[in-house]
């Protein structure tokens, strides 16, 4: 419950008196405060700084460390204060949370230190107030990214990984050449051959001196054999490399689809196609075209150069800006080409023969190239031409900064990652040196001593024992309030959980449901009662609620006083639910099931005698229940005379 609201619980309970005259059934007993504590000031000593607050302030949030009995672990008997050896700055925020109900995140705090403190005090970070939540989340995300980066780089760089398969080692060697010398050698060899191949392609076309016959030949044709051998060698290396990568790839399908592998394939294909094809005149044209693709080998360098990769990645991430650039350029080109065409139509011998022909002029002008092969001659043409070149500058200049900033961001990110990695190495090295100092052992022993001392701090008092047994007082009071409401109306809250379903009705008022329905329900509930797993819990939990319970459990007398059978039925269910709840976890949430789970001392008046064993039998009586009838708590009398078919249920005890 919210902070301030808990303070109003006494008011809500007092107001419940308004239901009393209307209720037809007796109310359950209120949970008593065993030790009614006057509200007292608690001193919290956090690393020397003393904070003081009311006990009830802390108890507003009973599922945190300070609000529950967990803080007793930190109680210092000598100074009668709670000592926490934690950060006092952050504690200020935490204490303010109890006071105001809002948790704030101070900007100057380190995010992980803050998280640790929150975890220590058992506070969920999600309840940080709106004012500070965004900042908190941003910082947290940054931190997480940094951690992830670090983890990644750690994984990549730690040499001593436990036995990887041969395939995995190969893949790692390919991806990161610094892992072993062999990888490095491989890396440089392929790099060399890529360079050789590219240079070969270039030099092939250079005219290489004349041959007798007065014909200028390109080197490729003059030294055809040599070039062919070089080409073969390169392609062999590339093929081997590609096949090795294919073999080592963890996911072959994904590898085949990746950009780098496509480049690899495209780079070596022309050679094989050339081998296969005959030296046919027809297809040699096509063959020549294919050789163009050999230039793609230069892209293989991107494996070797990070900058190239970044550039490629930037272009990919700026796809939308590039698309916009292209689109707006296209629009402008079409407009201006049309205009220029019609403007120059009049002049004679104009080069602007058609609109598509004007495209070339427009593009050259907009990008401020201005080759001068097409020039407007009319005045209108010149005017529009100048407008065209001016607007070209603008249109191109607009998306470019976006692309540039993207590139810059990604580039710097990469720089930072590299920097971090470099720093980390140095840092770890220094830490290792410092650690091997002799102070290590001393610190250890000192820490152990403190721990022992802390463990000797006194334990629980009687009241704390009571508190640890079940729900907090506020929760039990709240439940009692809801229970009163149920009794007033004669209805009960529906419990969601099928296991702990308490779907029996509290029949006080026969107008509400007819008997058959009731029987049915009782049957159902009795079925649920059967699982005997509940009995051990019933017997083991002696402390909760009332000592009556354990006594009842042992009695086998048949109980009759079922003037309030339904209550008993429900309460027995409640007992079992209570016990189960406690054995699992003393959860303090007001879930539906817990609504019915109350330390139901309401049975006390009805079990004055020890022989009343509620939990054994309940006979559904009907309702001719007047309030007087219900208060009958006679010991041992047999079931009331009713004309309802007696359904005797034996609970699983």
């Amino acid at each position: 419950m919210a902070a301030g609201v808990a303070a109003w619980l006494p008011f809500a309970r007092a107001a419940a008196i308004g239901w009393m005259p209307v209720a037809n059934c007796p109310m359950p007993l209120a949970p008593t405060e065993k030790n009614k504590r006057q509200d007292e000031l608690i001193i919290l000593n956090v690393s020397g700084r003393r904070f003081q607050t009311w006990r009830t302030t802390l108890e507003r949030y009973p599922d945190t460390l300070l609000g529950s009995t967990e803080k007793e672990f930190f109680f210092n008997e000598d100074t009668k204060e709670y000592f926490f050896d934690r950060d006092p700055e952050v504690f200020r925020c935490i204490l303010n949370f109890y006071r105001t109900g809002k948790l704030h995140y101070p900007r100057y705090e380190c995010i992980s230190a803050y998280d640790e403190e929150l975890a220590f005090y058992g506070i969920l970070p999600e309840i940080i107030g709106d004012c500070c939540y965004e900042e908190y989340k941003d910082r947290k995300r940054e931190n997480a990214e940094r951690l992830m980066d670090d983890n990644d780089s750690e994984n990549n760089q730690e040499g001593s990984m436990p036995s990887l398969s041969f395939r995995q080692t190969m893949w790692r060697a390919f991806e990161n050449p610094h892992t072993s010398t062999l990888a490095l050698v491989f890396y440089y060899v392929t790099g060399f051959f890529i360079a050789v191949s590219v240079i070969t392609n270039v030099v092939e076309t250079v005219p290489c001196g004349t041959v007798p016959g007065n014909k200028e030949l390109p080197c490729g044709e003059r030294y055809a054999v040599a070039f062919f051998c070089l080409d073969t060698a390169c392609v062999m290396i590339f093929t081997v490399e590609y096949l090795l990568r294919l073999f080592a790839a963890p996911s072959r399908y994904r590898f085949i689809r990746s950009v780098m592998s496509i480049i690899d394939v495209v780079a070596i294909m022309p050679y094989y196609i050339g081998l296969v094809m005959t030296n046919n005149e027809d297809v040699s044209g096509a063959f020549v075209t294919l050789r163009v693709f050999r230039v793609f080998r230069i892209f293989k360098f991107s494996r070797h150069s990070q900058g190239l990769r970044i550039l490629g990645y930037t272009l990919k991430s700026c796809a939308s800006e590039l698309g916009f650039l292209l689109f707006s350029l296209t629009m402008a080109i079409i407009i201006f080409a049309t205009v220029m065409f019609y403007a120059e139509k009049g002049s004679s011998a104009s080069k602007f023969t058609s609109i598509p022909a004007s495209f070339w002029y427009t593009i050259v002008t907009m990008t401020t190239l201005g080759y001068g092969d097409m020039v407007p001659k009319t005045i209108a043409g010149k005017i529009f031409g100048s407008i065209c070149s001016l607007s070209g500058v603008l249109v191109i200049a607009l998306p470019v900064p976006v692309i540039v900033s993207n590139f810059s961001r990604i580039y710097h990110q990469n720089q930072r990652a590299d920097k971090r990695r470099a720093q980390k190495k140095a840092r770890l090295a220094r830490i290792r040196v410092a650690k091997t100092g002799s102070s290590n052992a001393y610190l250890h022993s000192k820490r152990n001593g403190l721990l022992n001392e802390a463990l000797e701090l006194p334990g629980s008092t009687e009241e704390e024992q009571h508190m640890t047994k079940g729900t907090s007082l506020i929760e039990s009071q709240h439940h009692h309030l809801l229970h009163c409401l149920e009794k007033t109306t004669g209805l009960s809250y529906l419990v969601d959980d099928p296991l702990l379903s308490v779907r029996t009705s509290t029949i006080k008022n026969h107008e509400f449901i007819d008997e058959q329905l009731f029987e049915q329900n009782c049957m159902e509930s009795s079925m649920q009662n059967y699982p005997s797993s509940r009995s051990p819990s019933l017997s083991s939990q002696a402390g909760l609620g009332s000592s009556c319970c354990s006594r009842r459990h042992k009695k086998s007398a048949h109980l009759p006083n079922c003037s309030v059978p339904a209550t008993r039925l429900r309460s027995m269910q409640e007992l079992s639910t209570i016990h189960i709840q406690c054995s699992e976890q003393p959860s303090l949430t007001t879930s539906r099931s817990s609504l019915n789970m109350k330390a139901d001392d309401g049975l006390r008046p009805n079990c004055k005698g020890a022989q009343i064993t509620t939990a054994i039998i309940s006979i559904p009586t009907p309702p001719a229940l007047t309030p007087e009838g219900e208060s009958r708590a006679g010991p041992g009398s047999p079931g009331p005379a009713t004309n309802v078919p007696n359904v005797v249920k034996v609970s699983a005890l």
């Binding site: 419950m1 919210a2 902070a3 301030g4 609201v5 303070a7 109003w8 619980l9 006494p10 008011f11 809500a12 309970r13 007092a14 107001a15 419940a16 008196i17 308004g18 239901w19 009393m20 005259p21 209307v22 209720a23 037809n24 059934c25 007796p26 109310m27 209120a30 008593t32 009614k36 006057q38 509200d39 009311w54 109900g101 009071q477 709240h478 309030l481 809801l482 009163c484 409401l485 149920e486 109306t489 004669g490 209805l491 009960s492 809250y493 529906l494 029996t504 009705s505 008022n509 107008e511 509400f512 449901i513 329905l517 329900n521 007001t590 539906r592 309030p627 007087e628 219900e630 208060s631």
Partner: protein, 197 residues
Amino acid sequence: MEMATVRHRPEALELLEAQSKFTKKELQILYRGFKNFGVSSFRECPSGVVNEETFKEIYSQFFPQGDSTTYAHFLFNAFDTDHNGSVSFEDFVMGLSILLRGTVQEKLNWAFNLYDINKDGYITKEEMLDIMKAIYDMMGKCTYPVLKEDAPRQHVETFFQKMDKNKDGVVTIDEFIESCQKDENIMRSMQLFENVI
């Protein structure tokens, strides 16, 4: 709904102690809780008094499944004795004093006042029906057994059968007190919240 002065200071502690049946310490505890809530947690509620909206919100925190606004409205009117649209600390304390420390007579009087919506000294069936519906609304939809349409009405009938001695269709304060005093259950449940503070 006028907000009183911007900062409403309650009566002196001694005065309240004399007027109500609480001790100084109890009043201190009550005030701390009251002030904390009336201050900044809810929108334009000025410190020192609680208006009906806030009151309804507070009360609905305790009954999450159902709709407690109607009943909170009636409750608010019962607490707001001077009918000025806001519950000051004095109203709050006086109300609680009756409920928690008052005699049975006083408590029954308070309950009668709660049921008597128009404060004319008579509880009619319609008034009772409104109250009853408001109470049932608080339970919400997910109840077992499922709420029948005429359940509140039936409940009202039972109530009138019990309380209305001369069968004239209204319940006066005397009939009410007399009938309640005869009913052991009611008497016992009146003592239920003695030690709430």
